[in-house]
Symmetry: C2
């Protein structure tokens, strides 16, 4: 935490106190609004809890007048420090703008405020047999606004897309305090610049999203699973490429490296065979089509290096199969209290090279580094495990991180598939993008936020 | 055509002549580079045929120095006048940058230059059993660069997405003459601002795209079709909503209004029943799943107002079924030589209201106006038919157009689903977007092209 001057100009305080009433807080437990799941924190100067778009405009106008930073906040589940108010200023929490404004089942659309929890939205959509595809592990805690901010994904993104693929339009307040209405209520749109997808993933640095029109998908009738074990990552990687090259898109295709397989067997107690790599593949469909989709995926999963293949066609068997995947996170916590969890992405053909490189880094830095995740998109979670009370281990973990990013980029990959950049990866952005491209991003930032008051210090390196 | 000063500064002429050799043309048949499928034209001052990225940078640098307009051009199949050099200047045609640089079947990616024809790309991908989803009617004539410029779609977009959904990364030269590399080689990406999807659909006003990494899809094993006739548009519209609300996404779902049905029967000689509205639905899948997908779509197509339902499960029957759709364009030409073809979009639930409104406009303006197109996305082609040699008819057609856009916007729709804005719809942009949103688009334009040299006068109203 950096020490910053947390005092606010008296006139700003008076203006926003008058406007927001008890939605304006400059005393009390402010710190909880200054931390997130990355375990970083910084103290904000004030918390604003807007109730409507006009409140948000008033906040931006007041802060802009005094060049006070504004940090938009959902539920604080970011793992990148994206919502930490390092420069002090006003944290705008959308907890009072958490209404589902409209569900339009015939158009497969929902209109929501940013503070709605992802899980609450899914429950509201369920009677319509619709869902909103982004499904991060934190779905029950995280907000749609947070999902929009970091372009959240999840295991089903391989078939249904991540957040950016499932948003049709946005209402947002720019750093100039102007309300813009971008996108449309339609699933096709060639009308002017696509500011919708530009704002998604911009982590509150371009505008504050105050309303979103979401694209919904029909809930599949049934699901079935396959578990495929391979002698090594190369065999599993080849299977992923085969699966993704045939027309039956899996609903999920999750990867575990050998270390993860060992962990869920030995610590998690999961009933799976030992293997060099594991794929957990889900299909969805209806009663008639599902067996054929599973069969197509099974054909593609078979090949050199396959050790074992188990199908789970009824819900109970499928749940048992996924229990192994769910056992992973608790098992990881038993190894080490410290974890740097990165969500790097590579082209699917490079998964074996990525995992081999991660294994080499684990040896070089003498730390457990495990890899698992969303193989169909090449989006692996590389977890560097260490004891945070051991200074030497912590130093080695932090030294391994830039090497992980360098490895990913050398394989034609990129820094983040679904967590975003925040501060955690900000200083690696100049390795992912050349100077002219970063300059173009900075120019876009200046276009939306000429005074640089929106979430300063995030996404783009200083 | 507006008369503009077509002379270029001598030093620019000398610089680009030296750089481009016979790829720099200031005399000869320049006009063919100044027209497009909208039947508009204007005379460019010069044609530049770059062979590489460095050539494009040289063109932008030289033009920027003298504030000379640059208009990027693919194959000139735009129907919106997007590539017409109304302000003179240099038309940059990408016909010499038409290489398929790489196909990576394991990653389902292709890297291409912008001048590649869409159809040539599809033929090159075919041996890999992959395709690039955008499938405009002009696929054999239009370029990938043109598809990127206007966010082209086509009938398969309902399942596979339009251009913007099928691009992973771009190399582009901004109006500052800088080469930027945006996006990634991965199908998930949460790394910084999404400039890729911003450039797609920007119609050459933000940057010149010089290379694209495209996302490919596996070719389905088989296709089958359904033809469903309804008593009226309301019944057909309800069927579209039912079809899109169930989990088996159709590969196409094309709509024809009663006037189109009558045309293809009476003029096109198609063997289809008379009806108030027609849906032509395609499914794809493999031998085992396809019958079940067709059955699911058939169940959803059935309902109040269904007159007739015909299935075509073998390729010959499917081809015969689609012959009716293909008979439409030639039949339209027999009615009137003049046609204003707009690609408006509404939420699917509003298709009946859109078609009813179009019928009312046809009566009011005493002109045939027919509607057909991509119902699954609510993206209908409204064709205002008139005799261009009849001044009164032409005037009525032009007067009906703003009313069509007003109707579309009143139904929560937008101006274009796949053709883009160009000049044809530019002056309606301030009805689709409010002033702050247009100001944000202009600020983005200025960020990429501070001197306003890239395709001036397109997309954004003056």
């Amino acid at each position: 935490m950096t020490t910053v001057d947390t005092s606010l100009p008296a006139s700003l305080d008076a203006t926003l106190r008058a406007r927001l009433g008890d939605g304006w807080q400059v005393a009390g437990d402010l710190r909880r609004y200054g931390e997130d799941s990355s375990k970083r924190w910084a103290m904000p100067s004030a918390i604003a809890l807007p109730d409507c778009v006009e409140d948000v405009v008033a906040i931006v106008d007041a802060c802009r007048e005094h060049r006070i930073p504004i940090v938009a906040r959902g539920a604080g589940t970011s793992s990148t420090g994206a919502a930490i108010p390092y420069s002090g200023g006003v944290v705008v929490s959308f907890e009072r703008m958490a209404r589902i404004l409209e569900v339009r089942p015939d158009d497969r659309q929902a209109v929501v405020e940013p503070g709605v929890l992802n899980g609450d939205l899914q429950r509201a959509l369920s009677p319509h047999r619709l869902f909103w595809p982004p499904d991060p592990a934190s779905a029950d805690q995280c907000t749609v606004g947070g999902n929009l901010a970091c372009n959240a994904g999840g295991p089903h993104a391989v078939k249904y897309g991540a957040t950016r693929d499932n948003v049709l339009g946005l209402v947002a307040v720019t750093g100039r305090g102007e309300v813009i209405r971008v996108g449309s209520n339609t699933t096709k749109n060639a009308t002017g610049y696509d500011l919708t997808r530009l704002l998604v993933g911009s982590e509150g640095t371009l505008a504050l999203i105050v309303e979103a029109t979401l694209k919904l998908a029909p809930v599949p009738a049934q699901r079935a699973g396959l578990r495929a074990s391979y002698v090594d990552v190369a065999s599993a990687g080849a299977a992923v490429a085969r699966i993704m090259a045939q027309p039956e898109t899996p609903a999920m295709i999750e990867f575990m490296d050998a270390a993860c397989v060992r962990l869920v067997r030995e610590v998690g107690g999961a009933d799976i065979p030992d293997a060099g790599a594991l794929l957990m593949i889900e299909a969805d469909g209806d009663r008639e089509t599902l067996p054929h989709v599973v069969a197509a995926l099974e054909r593609a999963a078979r090949g050199a290096g396959l050790l074992d293949l188990a199908a789970a066609t009824d819900p109970a068997a499928n749940a048992a199969l996924w229990a192994a995947r769910k056992a992973l996170s608790p098992a990881l916590r038993t190894i080490a209290a410290g974890k740097i969890n990165e969500d790097v992405v590579v082209p699917v053909s490079r998964i074996p090279a990525l995992v081999a490189g991660i294994e080499a880094l684990a040896r070089e830095f003498d730390l457990p580094i495990v890899a698992f995740g969303h193989a169909g998109n090449g989006n692996l979670h590389a977890n560097i495990l260490f004891d945070p009370d051991d200074a030497a281990q912590s130093a080695r973990a932090n030294a391994a991180l830039p090497r992980l990013f360098a490895l990913t980029l050398s394989l034609g990959g990129t820094l983040s598939g679904e967590h975003g950049i925040g501060v955690a990866k900000r200083d690696f952005m100049d390795r992912a993008f050349d100077a002219p491209t970063l300059a173009a991003m900075r120019a876009v930032k200046a276009a939306f936020d000429p005074d640089g008051i929106l979430n300063p210090g995030k996404v783009l390196p200083p």
